[in-house]
């Protein structure tokens, strides 16, 4: 297999991946997939098995709002967050550079 062929295939593969990651969240949003009855039932069942509190959507949103308001950023949390984000950006960068040979 020639380098040009491999290059072409990797470009096609990356193009497909890019189209999927762009469109997938929009499709899930448009179809409201994660809030459909079977998915919600499955989620509730998993939650019940894990011992999570059973609550309505309104109660859950209210609880999350209160939790968020209480949450205070810490230096350690910020540092870990920064490292995690940089790690993912770096990993994607290395994959893009090595595997897909991204160049200007």
């Amino acid at each position: 297999m020639t380098t040009a062929n491999t290059d072409g295939r990797m470009s096609t593969l990356l193009s497909i991946i890019l189209i999927i990651v762009t469109i997938l969240p929009l499709i899930i949003f448009a179809t409201d997939f994660t809030n459909r009855a079977p998915v919600r039932t499955a989620r509730t069942a998993v939650g019940r098995r894990a011992g999570a509190p059973q609550e309505t959507q309104t109660l859950r949103l209210e609880r999350r709002r209160v939790e968020r308001a209480k949450r205070r950023p810490t230096f350690g949390g910020a540092a870990i967050g920064l490292v995690v984000s940089l790690f993912w950006i770096g990993a994607a960068g290395v994959v893009g550079r090595r595997l897909f040979r991204l160049r200007l």
């Binding site: 290059d7 072409g8 470009s11 096609t12 990356l14 193009s15 890019l18 189209i19 990651v21 762009t22 997938l24 969240p25 929009l26 899930i28 949003f29 409201d32 994660t34 809030n35 959507q57 949103l61 709002r65 968020r68 308001a69 949450r71 205070r72 950023p73 810490t74 949390g77 910020a78 870990i80 967050g81 920064l82 995690v84 984000s85 940089l86 993912w88 950006i89 770096g90 990993a91 994607a92 960068g93 290395v94 994959v95 893009g96 550079r97 897909f100 991204l102 160049r103 200007l104």
Partner: protein, 168 residues
Amino acid sequence: MTSSRWRIRRHAWIAILDSILLVAFLALSQPGDSTGYQVHEWIGVSFIVLFILHVWASWSWITMTWRRARSGTGPRARLNFLLNSALCVMMVVVITSGLVISQYVLPAVGIRTDDSQRWEQLHNFTSSLLLGVIGLHVALNWSWIKGAIRRYCVAPVQRLTNRAGAGS
């Protein structure tokens, strides 16, 4: 001012803008741990301005790549254009959904927002995927980034150490 001097200044401004954009993005990517949600929203609003400036500063490159991708000069040009288009679409989705679920900034100026789980999921899921696409965008522009680091960070430090060495 001569054209080459203007170009150098423009290059420096773009490098500064992109660095701020990266720092802002990193701060935005872990809202609970690094900034808290109120600051997250204010940084997010500033990010919109930075993002528009970034697109505006790269406009000549965008039109050139678009022309190249349309003329069919090869899969590379099309891929570069597709990558940046995907990034732009995802950025618009994240910004729009972020504004829709805003709980501090927009309500503070009297605009009612929607706190539905659906919009929040769209915001969170797209921003998680965005992290990877930003990595690919960095990979694509890596030579430019390396050049800018060398020019604005490494070279001035070298000049300073050389001057200090010559002085002692």
